[in-house]
Structure formats: structure tokens, C-alpha cells
């Protein structure tokens, strides 16, 4: 009986041309977005591979010199492109993908809130994620706005109810028919992912990508499911299909264009973030304080690199100085980054009203292009910088400090350079993404349950 209802619904979508037109249009956009993203990724991917290789070659082949000079020149590390970034580029385009590992300071990563936030909602960047997040609900609305209200106008609803068909069975059949539409929209995502990953030796762990794709599809089905049940509920409650269309379009416009922008501002008000100049000033002040304290403790002076500390202790001083900085850097970047996470979480909670706010975050996390993944990379890069610093300061302590006043005549060559390992960064596994998405996924599932309950409640008395 349910299948009967589903087939009739689908037959109607198909015969009145709505499905072919709507889904066809969405599919064309979707596939275009997909191919463009995939192509870009391939290009950038190879560029990055080459650049990373060249940079390390430069490090290895640098001439003999004092290790600390080499540390000032530093090394560049490149963030690998997550395999699914072509589905959802997330914040990829708004945060730096290259980090300079140099002496003394963690380099600035471009985390300006303006970039982090408004860039994300730029309407019009054609990506597969955007197509599903924004046009997916629209397709559901176009297919489903008259599900009940249209039949009410037509008079067929009366006819159906008079046959003794329970309204929940009608609802279930209609919901399944719409899910079929949603699935047709998402199926390409699944197919393309499998295809892209299986034919791609750059993609890193294929297994992981498959798991991520699976969760991505699951998340989007939940997302579209929310719209399916809201659409059916509104259609059951409104007297005419014209009214249901207006109500649903209003909800769509608010939920997919206005709310995502507005909530960014709300989050910024609730969890304010210093601008970059303020951030740097505060970090510098803190660093100076830490340095002074550490120098005072070890060398009895708060003047860094002054004549009070002999050159025979320069290597040791470098180490003390570095370690004093690590703490301050961790604290400051940590606090800033926690704020970003707070902002994100706040927006995710508003997903209860506007599901796009939680799916946006979930989708980025599953595509490994969200801030949490970026933070993981930045932390790794900073660890690698510290590894280099520590190698250098301990080498200097062991070998150069003995030279006394001639400390800076000490030079090292290839043998030492190659002790510094290549920066090998593996993006975290799907489990990491899932852990970070418990909040957004929870909100999505809760919204789905609420919308289902709402739909059943609305259609309990259909005449």
C-alpha cells in the first residue's frame, strides 16, 4: 500500500514535468560544480606536491652555515588537500594553506574572522555542497509543497480519506516519494566520490575517504529529510497550495540565505574575537613577559641576548628563550582557536531552527575542510617548527657553546640538515571528524525527529 502511494506520487512528479525540470537543472549544476572542483583540486594538488618537494630540497642543499641562520630562513610546509574538498571546500579558500616554520615565532595563520566567517556564506560559489545545501531543499519544496494542499484543492484528499486510508500511511508514502527525489540528488555524490577516490592515487587513505563520503551522504539525507517533513507538515496545515508554497519559500529564503549570515554576526557578538592587530599586540606583550621571566630565572638578567650572557651559553639561551615562547604561543593561539570553536558550536545549535547552520558545519568536517581540521594541521606544523628549533638549540649547546667567543664560527652542513625530517602530515581520520561533529549531527538528528513529529501531528486530521 505504501509502495502504491509512492509510485503514484513519483508518477505525478514525472508526468507534470516538475521532476524532470527541477531535478535536471539541479543535476546539471551539481555535476558542473563537481567537475570544476575536481579539476581545480587536481591542479592545486600537483602544484603543492612539487612545491613541498622543492622546499625540502632547498633545505637539504643549503650551504654550510650556523644552524640558527638556517632556522631564520626556515622551511615551508603545505597543507595537503583533503580528498573530499572538491565536494565541500569549506574554509579552504579563506585560510592559509602554507605555513612558514621559522625561528622564534609561530607564523601568523590567516584566521581573520572576516575571512573565516563571511567568506563561508558567500552566495554563489558553485560547489556540490552548496548545490545540495541550498538547492536541495528548494527541489524538495517544489516537489512537495502541494502534497496535501494540492490534493485538498483537487478534492482527491477527501476521496482518499473516505476510502479509509489512515493519514499516517499517506504521509509515509509521500515522504518516501520525496526521499526518492532526495536520493536521486545525492546519489551522484556517492558515485562520484567512489569513482574519484578509486581512480586517484593522490587521495591519501581511500578507506578513510569512503567512510567520510558515507557519513556525508548520511548527513545530507538527514538534512533533506528535515525539509521533506517540514514541507509535508506545512502542506498538510495550509488550506491551499499557493499558501503552502509561500510559507515554504519564506522558510527556505530565511533558512538558507538570511539566517546563515545573521548567525555569523550573532556568534561574533556572543564570542568576540580580537582583530589581528590586537591579537599580535597581546601576543607580543605576553611573549616579552615570558622571555624576561625565563631569562631572569636562568641567567639573572631580564635583558635578552645582552652582554650579560656569554656566547659560550648562547645555545642554552636559545633553548630557554624558545621554551618560554612555546607556552605563550600555545595559550594565545589556543584561546583564539577555542573561540572559533565556540562560535561554530553556537551556530550549530541554531540548526534546530535553520538546519543549514548545522549541516554546513557537519559537511565541512566530513570533507576535512573545517576549522577543526585546519587547527590540527596548524598544530602539527607548529610541532614540526619546534622540532627544528629543538634540534638546532641542542646541537648548538653540544657543539658550538664549547667554542666560547667563537660560537658563531660554528657551521653545519648537509649531515645536520638531513637530520631534520621532512614534514609528513596525515590529515586526521574520519573518527576525528565524527568526534568534532557530535554537536552538529546531534542537532540535525534532533531536528529530523522534531520535523517528523510535526508532520505526523499536522496530518493527523486531514480534511
Amino acid at each position: 500500500m505504501t509502495w502504491l502511494i509512492v509510485t503514484r506520487e513519483v508518477r505525478e512528479f514525472y508526468r507534470d514535468g516538475r521532476f524532470l525540470f527541477g531535478a535536471g537543472l539541479v543535476a546539471v549544476l551539481f555535476i558542473t560544480a563537481f567537475l570544476v572542483g575536481y579539476e581545480q583540486r587536481q591542479n592545486v594538488f600537483s602544484e603543492r606536491e612539487v612545491a613541498q618537494q622543492l622546499d625540502y630540497d632547498d633545505w637539504i642543499n643549503q650551504p654550510e652555515r650556523h644552524p640558527h641562520d638556517a632556522a631564520h630562513q626556515g622551511m615551508h610546509v603545505f597543507k595537503p588537500i583533503p580528498p573530499l574538498s572538491f565536494v565541500d571546500p569549506g574554509i579552504t579558500n579563506y585560510v592559509g594553506s602554507t605555513q612558514w616554520l621559522k625561528a622564534h615565532r609561530q607564523t601568523e595563520v590567516k584566521f581573520r574572522p572576516a575571512q573565516d566567517a563571511t567568506g563561508l556564506q558567500r552566495f554563489g560559489s558553485l560547489t556540490p555542497a552548496w548545490v545540495i545545501q541550498v538547492l536541495g531543499p528548494l527541489l524538495i519544496i517544489v516537489l512537495g509543497f502541494n502534497s496535501f494542499s494540492g490534493e485538498r484543492e483537487q478534492g482527491t484528499l477527501r476521496q482518499l480519506i473516505s476510502l479509509g486510508v489512515p493519514s499516517w500511511k499517506l504521509l509515509r508514502g509521500k515522504a518516501l516519494a520525496l526521499f526518492l527525489g532526495a536520493f536521486l540528488l545525492i546519489a551522484p555524490l556517492l558515485l562520484f566520490s567512489v569513482w574519484a577516490v578509486s581512480g586517484d592515487d593522490l587521495a591519501g587513505s581511500r578507506h578513510d575517504t569512503l567512510i567520510r563520503s558515507g557519513f556525508l551522504v548520511l548527513g545530507y539525507l538527514v538534512y533533506l529529510g528535515i525539509f521533506i517533513f517540514v514541507t509535508l507538515a506545512v502542506s498538510a496545515l495550509t488550506a491551499t497550495s499557493r499558501i503552502s508554497l509561500i510559507v515554504l519559500l519564506a522558510f527556505w529564503i530565511i533558512g538558507t540565505t538570511l539566517a546563515p549570515r545573521a548567525l555569523v554576526d550573532v556568534a561574533r557578538m556572543v564570542y568576540p574575537i580580537p582583530n589581528q592587530a590586537e591579537f599580535n599586540t597581546q601576543l607580543n606583550q605576553e611573549l616579552q613577559r615570558e622571555y624576561a621571566e625565563a631569562w631572569q630565572e636562568h641567567f639573572g638578567t631580564d635583558k635578552r641576548w645582552g652582554s650579560d650572557v656569554p656566547l659560550s651559553r648562547w645555545g642554552e639561551a636559545l633553548r630557554v628563550d624558545d621554551y618560554a615562547g612555546y607556552d605563550a604561543i600555545d595559550r594565545h593561539f589556543g584561546a583564539l582557536w577555542d573561540r572559533y570553536e565556540d562560535q561554530r558550536r553556537l551556530q550549530e545549535f541554531f540548526g534546530l531552527l535553520f538546519p543549514m547552520l548545522s549541516i554546513r558545519s557537519y559537511s565541512m568536517a566530513m570533507s576535512a575542510t573545517d576549522f577543526t581540521h585546519h587547527r590540527d594541521f596548524a598544530t602539527s606544523a607548529e610541532d614540526h617548527r619546534r622540532l627544528i628549533q629543538d634540534l638546532i638549540s641542542s646541537n648548538l649547546t653540544q657543539h658550538a657553546d664549547g667554542h666560547g667567543e667563537r660560537h658563531f664560527d660554528y657551521k653545519v652542513g648537509k649531515e645536520f640538515w638531513s637530520k631534520v625530517p621532512r614534514f609528513e602530515y596525515a590529515a586526521p581520520a574520519a573518527f576525528f571528524a565524527l568526534q568534532g561533529s557530535l554537536n552538529s549531527l546531534g542537532v540535525l538528528l534532533a531536528s529530523l525527529l522534531i520535523s517528523i513529529a510535526f508532520a505526523f501531528w499536522s496530518s493527523r486530521n486531514l480534511i
Binding site: I5, R8, R11, Q159, L160
Partner: protein, 234 residues
């Protein structure tokens, strides 16, 4: 089979039905006469469970409609004044869908084609989309849906309005066949002649009250017309 016990329905301050009691037993054809707005459709809506009584009760096959809304619907088939079908589906597909929903299983298409032919729908029309149908053709599909349900009672809301005389006549015959098979038929109409021809029992309703009830065999055409007009005048 169909029973109303002092059924009263108020819409705000309007009294739509005023303590109406009537009953239709198996094999009986009950014709309810009345002008527009007399409350005939309101009464049918109560049997369908679309409206809840203000007081009194409605029973189908001994079961109260208000407390068994789904069960009671299984025993009745309903043909409205304008049968509403899905325009983008063919007549045959409409019949297939509605009858499968009503009975819980799909009938073979050949059987359905035969049913449509039986009520006089041309074979060619059965395969066309309903959007192209005339009112008479839609009524025929509606009748077929009702027949295919094999219900114990038929509820008809001015079913012959808009049908040509030949179709109306065929329709009356179908009702008689149904009643011979033990189906209880309750139909509303404006058509005195039709009521006298098909009905066993006739009721006259005005402003929500059932004013007269008699067996059609007990009165002549002329008597009936005078009874009707007398009740309408008061």
C-alpha cells in the same frame, strides 16, 4: 447498516442538522430529498467521519463513526457530486490506485478494464488522462471505484447531477443491482422522479430537519410532488 440517532450539528450559532434520526438497512435504497443547503451533504459528511456531531451519534454497521473513524470507512463507499481524480493519471490508473487503497490489494488491469466497460466508459477513454474527461466520464470512474470496493454501504451525494438521462438511467440500474446484493444505499438528490424510480424509502429534509419519511411504493408521483412542495412551503 447506516444509522443516525438524533444527530445535531451546530456551526457556531447555525443549526445545520436538527436532531435527525434515520436508518438504512441492508438492501434498501434511501433517497434523501431537499433543496440546496438543507443539510444533506452535512449528514453524509457525518457518516464519513469528516464532521463530528454536536450531539447524537452516527453508526455504520453498528459502530460509532466518531470512535471508529477508520473501521467504519472500510464498510462504505462514497461517490460525491463531483468525483475528484488525479488529472495526470489515466482513468484506469486512477481506478487502480483508489481501488487498491480501498481494498488493500491491486486488481489485475484486465479486471479493472472490464469494470470500467461495465459502467459504460469507452475502452479508449480508460487509457486517456483524466484531465481530458467530461464530468460524466469522471462520475463513471467514481462509480467504478465505489463498486470495486465491494462495500456494505454506498453513500452518494447527488451522484446523477450532470449526467445525461441515459447515463443517469444506467446509474439507477447499478444502484438497484447493488441493493439486490444486499448493499445499503443512501443517496441525496433533487430529482423527485429519480427518487421515486430507484428508492425504497424517501426522506424530505429542510433546514436541517427531517420533515417526512415514507416508502416509495406507498405514494404516487403526483402525491410525492405535493408532499415535497408542501414541506418546502411551510
Amino acid at each position: 447498516m447506516l444509522k443516525a440517532n438524533s444527530l445535531t450539528k451546530n456551526f457556531n450559532s447555525n443549526i445545520a442538522l436538527n436532531s435527525v434520526s434515520l436508518s438504512v438497512s441492508q438492501g434498501e435504497i434511501y433517497c434523501l430529498l431537499g433543496a440546496n443547503g438543507a443539510g444533506k451533504t452535512t449528514l453524509i459528511n457525518h457518516f464519513l467521519g469528516f464532521l463530528k456531531p454536536t450531539s447524537g451519534e452516527v453508526l455504520v454497521n453498528g459502530k460509532c463513526v466518531t470512535s471508529n473513524p477508520l473501521d467504519t470507512k472500510r464498510d462504505i463507499a462514497y461517490i460525491p457530486e463531483n468525483v475528484m481524480l488525479y488529472g495526470v493519471l489515466t482513468g484506469l490508473e486512477n481506478l487502480e490506485y483508489f481501488s487498491a487503497l480501498a481494498t488493500g490489494r491491486k486488481k489485475p488491469r484486465d479486471v479493472l478494464r472490464k469494470l470500467l466497460a461495465d459502467v459504460g466508459l469507452p475502452a479508449e477513454a480508460a487509457e486517456r488522462r483524466v484531465a481530458t474527461y467530461s464530468k460524466g466520464m469522471r462520475q463513471k470512474v467514481g462509480i467504478t471505484i465505489a463498486m470495486a470496493k465491494n462495500a456494505k454501504a454506498l453513500l452518494l451525494d447527488e451522484p446523477t447531477s450532470g449526467l445525461d438521462p441515459k447515463a443517469a438511467n444506467e446509474f439507477s440500474r447499478l444502484l438497484k443491482t447493488a441493493s439486490e446484493n444486499g448493499v445499503a444505499v443512501f443517496t441525496t438528490t433533487h430529482d423527485l422522479f429519480h427518487a421515486k424510480e430507484t428508492g425504497n424509502r424517501i426522506g424530505i429534509m429542510r433546514s436541517g430537519s427531517l420533515l417526512a419519511e415514507f416508502n416509495s411504493d406507498d405514494v404516487s408521483h403526483a402525491d410525492m410532488e405535493s408532499i415535497y412542495l408542501k414541506n418546502m412551503r411551510d
